[in-house]
């Protein structure tokens, strides 16, 4: 096939805009679930305040700023200040929600999260957009190791929500949780998938089995839970049973649910996450299984490689790094042999 024909056959993908939705075409979405949930929660709670480092619009915090301008503090493009001032506000009894992109919040302000916020167990809710590989802008904007960094901070609760439902239900729960929280944020047009799971509710600190399956157990968090559900559907057509255990709280990890699910049947266990295979959910699960002396039939990591990822169009990158529906499905089939 000539190059010209190939280009005609496959539309040229462009680098997705930084704030592009991760929703696939035709997928059901909900707009700005974080911003809307926070506005609703804060309505009769004057202690809730919001602050950002020049990214209110791109973290959906602008809705809070519009609703409660007197409770919104613009900190400018200064992440150390953002985290330090959030700590100061918490020390005065307020409940600050601090937003920026995950790369800047974690990599740039680590010591301020560690020393100002976590060491004093302050009630700060750090909500960071563009988690993992959700932008094609390259490593400057791809937070592929934020969970690894945050897991190292004692006493910090870490949440990696899957979709709009997870986010809107997580907001009041992290607000009411006494102590610091780091939540990965999906913003803009956010996919809505978990409402299709009967009886599903986000519960801070709990993992939830979303579907059962005899051949594979996928343990996942964040948008990889969405992918796992898609893959499970695809593999079901070939009579391959895929169970999906969703772990939206990374720390503290619901080890009991993980151990029970792995121990329930001898099957391939795949940990799928929108994060480096270093220091994320995969290693946390592996450690829990070893400590609990539970041996899966086979154990694989479907996370992002330990590398600086390429820039480009997001669908291409998800294919390249194995977290697209198609490639994740192919990898799991391969591991099944």
């Amino acid at each position: 096939m000539s190059q010209a024909i190939a280009e005609k056959a496959k539309p040229r993908l462009t680098t997705s805009a930084m704030i592009a939705s991760i929703a696939s075409e035709g997928q059901r979405v909900k707009a700005a679930p974080f911003g809307k949930a926070l506005v609703e929660y804060a309505a009769d709670r004057p202690e809730v305040v919001g602050l950002t480092a020049d990214l209110a619009k791109y973290t959906d915090l602008h809705l809070f700023a519009q609703a409660y301008p007197e409770r919104f503090f613009q900190m400018g493009m200064a992440e150390q200040l953002l985290m330090g001032a959030a700590g100061g506000l918490a020390k005065e009894g307020l409940v600050p929600f601090a937003t920026t992109y995950a790369v800047f919040g974690t990599r740039r302000a680590y010591d301020f999260i560690h020393q100002v916020i976590a060491e004093e167990n302050l009630n700060v809710k750090i909500c960071c957009a563009l988690p993992g590989l959700t932008t094609g802008y390259g490593p400057s904007h791809q937070a592929t190791e934020d969970i690894a960094m945050m897991r190292g901070v004692p006493g910090l609760t870490i949440v990696d929500p899957c979709d709009a439902l997870d986010i809107e239900q997580a907001v009041p729960q992290i607000a009411q949780h006494p102590g610091p929280v780091y939540m990965r944020l999906l913003r803009g047009q956010v996919p809505l998938v978990l409402d299709e799971i009967e009886g599903y509710r986000f519960e801070l600190g709990k993992a939830r089995m979303l579907r059962e399956g005899a051949d594979v157990l996928v343990i996942s968090s964040g948008i990889l839970t969405m992918r796992a559900l898609e893959v499970a559907q695809d593999l079901a057509a070939d009579r391959i049973g895929v169970a999906v255990l969703h772990c939206p709280t990374i720390k503290p990890l619901d080890e009991a649910a993980i151990v029970a699910a792995v121990g329930a049947a001898p099957r391939l266990v795949v940990v799928a996450e929108n994060h480096s295979v270093v220091g994320g959910l995969g290693e946390a699960v592996a450690s829990a299984l070893l400590r609990h002396r539970v041996q899966p039939a086979r154990f694989e990591l479907a996370g992002l490689p330990d590398a600086f990822l390429d820039a480009g169009a997001l669908p291409t990158l998800h294919d390249r790094y194995g977290i697209s529906r198609e490639v994740l499905g192919r990898r799991i089939r391969g591991w099944l042999g």
Binding site: V49, R71, F73, M75, G76, A78, Q80, L81, M83, G84, A85, A86, G87, G88, L89, A90, K91, E92, G93, L94, P96, D111, F112, Q115, V116, E119, E120
Partner: protein, 292 residues
């Protein structure tokens, strides 16, 4: 601004006594551990005396009282000086200084909020106090609480970018309830601060960032007193900084003259010698209660 020369001598006498006691408490703690940032403590004692015996609104036995002025020790290694001031203020009992730096002590070598009554923050990772102070000052305004936030910091912390992030934000948010106290002893870990990373013209820098600036001799009590009063009394809707030039080891001549280092070496017998010298220079007692 108050004319320092016109201050009642009883007030300055009482402050001189307080500063003398703070130096003495610090030396005694240093002797307990055989180490400590004593050069800084002796140099900063006059500022702490004015802060804790004149400027700050406090309830010593109720260190978390909502109406208190907040005093943040950004330079956590000055804890030995801060504990001495907290003893002077009646927040901590004098007997507790014997535990300084020991296991299970409430007085660890570097200041931490969870350990010590009156210690507002866990400082020590330098350059963090002022960003926290910005948040607390915003929070106090949000609560319509008229208390002030004082951030105590070292000149070395001027190297940290976060200090200037906070300086921009404090002016932008018109934080007139924030007072920053900078100890310019011109000594940081690798040598004189001016050689490590030059910060002059410092007053101009702060002014350019939108702050009300004063620069005074931090070991001249009437000048320190006036500067605190002026910072507090200012009507402008801007944050205030007082740059205090201080002498490390102040009050103990052999330590003043010792080769300047970030961590002044003091040999075991020298703690007692320093105390003896300090005792010989005890200021005249004044009538208690004469302070504003």
């Amino acid at each position: 601004m108050t004319d320092s020369a016109a201050l009642p001598s009883t007030a300055t006498q009482a402050l001189a006594q307080a500063a003398w006691r703070i130096r003495r408490y610090a030396l005694r703690m240093g002797e307990v551990q055989g180490q400590g940032y004593i050069g800084q403590a002796l140099g900063w004692a006059d500022v702490l005396a004015v802060a804790y015996r004149h400027a700050l609104t406090l309830r010593p036995r109720e260190p978390e009282w909502e109406g208190r002025d907040r005093f943040l020790l950004s330079h956590g290694h000055y804890a030995i000086a801060h504990y001495a001031a907290l003893i002077e203020a009646g927040v901590i009992d004098e007997s507790e200084l014997e535990t300084y730096g020991g296991d299970d002590s409430r007085l660890p070598m570097s200041g931490m909020a969870a350990y010590t009554p009156g210690m507002e923050i866990s400082g020590g990772s330098l350059g963090q106090g002022l960003v926290i102070a910005v948040g607390m000052a915003l929070g106090l305004k949000q609560k319509k609480n008229p208390a002030f936030v004082y951030n105590s910091m070292s000149d070395g912390e001027l190297d940290e970018g976060s200090t200037w992030e906070a300086a921009m934000a404090a002016a932008h948010h018109r934080l007139d309830n924030l007072v920053c106290l900078v100890d310019i002893n011109n000594q940081q870990a690798d040598g004189p601060s001016s050689k490590v990373l030059g910060f002059e013209p410092l007053a101009d820098k702060w002014a350019a960032f939108g702050w009300h600036v004063q620069r005074v001799d931090g070991n001249d009590l009437p000048a320190v007193l006036s500067a605190f009063d002026a910072a507090r009394g200012l009507r402008d809707a801007k944050p205030r900084v007082i740059l205090f030039d201080t002498l490390m080891g102040k009050g103990v001549p052999f330590l003043e003259q010792r080769e300047k280092n970030h961590f002044i070496r003091v040999d075991p017998p020298e703690w007692q010698q320093a105390l003896t010298i300090l005792d010989a220079s005890r200021p005249e007692p004044s009538t208690e209660g004469a302070l504003a």
